[in-house]
Amino acid sequence: MIKLEGINKTYFGAQPLHVLKGIDLNVEEGELVSIMGASGSGKSTLLNILGILDNYDEGNYYLAGKLVKNLTENQAAEFRNRFIGFIFQSFNLIPFKTAVENVALPLFYQGVSRKKRNQMALEFLDRFGLKGWADHYPNELSGGQKQRVSIARALVTSPKIILADEPTGALDSKTSIEVMRILREVNASGITMIIVTHERGIANLTNKIVHLKDGVIENIEENNVKSVDFERDIK
């Protein structure tokens, strides 16, 4: 599903910062992968490149068999809309839209009719137990509810992969478990998922842990999650 070959990325600021120094990575369809690393290791940059939110300097990135390189803004938008679902640490819901409108937004950019997309959005909210909150604004929702809304939003377009940037970073541990359980369920339905985290407990709930350090992959750890581990592992 994802194939990275020698990805290099340098930020040219006051001092050039070589963030990614040749990343090679393969993620198969349906995998649940976490990327771990200390802050400054380049994990967020890697996620941005995977999400086509940022471009890279060298190497090749294949997404679902297509080379993602030197895309125009329009092509990138199209890729993001069709293939990728994002989940952010700070939820990034639009404050002046209701839950259902937030979830329906990606479909708006696909040109789905209002009636159809609201209906689809409602189905996804229902799936995460938020049907009763559909007409509430983000500031009326709890952190866990907000993250579930943003998961619904990431899934509504039936993307090929879900990219989650510290999805539990702003949540308490109980809510974190709940969110991780949902993400695992989503993954179990066949959607490839990549989670960036700095928490070992969260990484332990994924099947493959990629350790990133100073812009290179240190090692890739296979991890066998048993459902029993679930509650205990999250600490």
Partner: protein, 438 residues
Amino acid sequence: MDFWSEIFMALRRNKLRTILTGFAISWGIFMLIILLSVGNGLKNGVNTNFADRAKNTYTIWSSETELPYKGHKANRWITLTDKDIEYLENHLYHVDEVSPVFSKGGTLIFEDKSKSVQVEGVKPIYKNIEGIKIKEGRFVNENDMKTKAKVVVIDKITAELIREKINSDKEMENPVKVRKTKRYKKNDVSILGQLVMINGINYTIVGVFEGQMWGSMGQCYAPYSTMQQIYNVNNKYYQLSFTTKGLVTKEDNENFRKELKRNLALLHEFSPDDQRGVWIDSSMLNALETNKIFNTINVFIWVIGIAMLISGVVGVTNIMRITVKERTFEIGIRKALGAKPRSILMSIVMEALIITTVFGYVGMFIGVGLMEIANKVLESVNAGKGPNDVAVFMNLSVDIKIVLMATIVLIISGVIAGIAPAWKAVNVKPIEAMNNRS
């Protein structure tokens, strides 16, 4: 369709922002309309006050000399005589018809009513010279002149005073009948043929004229010959008025005035450099003078108007910039979710367009509406005024084309102001935009 409802929703959900932007626009347009229409109203009002006068008339007043000249001492009173009239009529090509004017203040008495009036003894031609409009009856005629008839033409307000007196007399005579037929209408009673006494002499009213007097005194016209006889003026004149022909430009008039002064100086032996001796007044030169003032006022109004428009444009630009900056976060999310740059740019520009158009129209509507109400009020105020009063403002109006142009300028500047920051925001990386939470 979906695109529009998305925009309207964004506008509805961000009421404060929408209203602030809109207010800047509405206010700009509103103030521009008020400014321009008040300027026009002032112009219309004052023009009407002057319009009653025939355009190109001259008046010569006799006066005292200021400089000694050819053996004459200073402060000598110059008297105008028939010789001057003869000279003006026969030797100056541009002079059309001359009327001497003899003014006398006095008291007009009708039964037990009295009023201060100014009586002017004039020739029939004076009607044309001053542009006097007759409302009832007639003006002084040649026959009056020949027979030295004791007739008088009075102003509307004085006529009203006399009419009321006649009406109340009738009510006294026959109170029952009057009550049944309500009141007599003012115009039912003719005052022509009534006798009035001015300074102890009885005159017959032959006409009523419509006109605007300055001050509260009444104004009457009597035949010049009559006045001459009564007041024993002989052939001395203090004021001569005449119409002119062939004087078109300002230059013509200025040259003519100089020539006239030179000739009169020669005739009456006072220094041509004397600032006094005779006063010469030209209605056309006066009018040009007034126009000059209006042109200055007009320029002033336009300068303020344009300054207002510029401040409106700056206001809109600023609000658009802030709006886009404020929305960077939202734009970032939308981009991450797959919004294409064009769609984001379009929605921002369209929002700006809708706000400026709608609120520009609102400002226009309120401005024009207020102007219309002010017009109605002015109309009733002006109607209530007697001929003694002057309408300062009249018919407030504004060229709707100018207003539309101003609105369009604001709309376009609002849109252009929105495009630059929107373009910047659209091209920012989604991640940076999303981190930029305000």
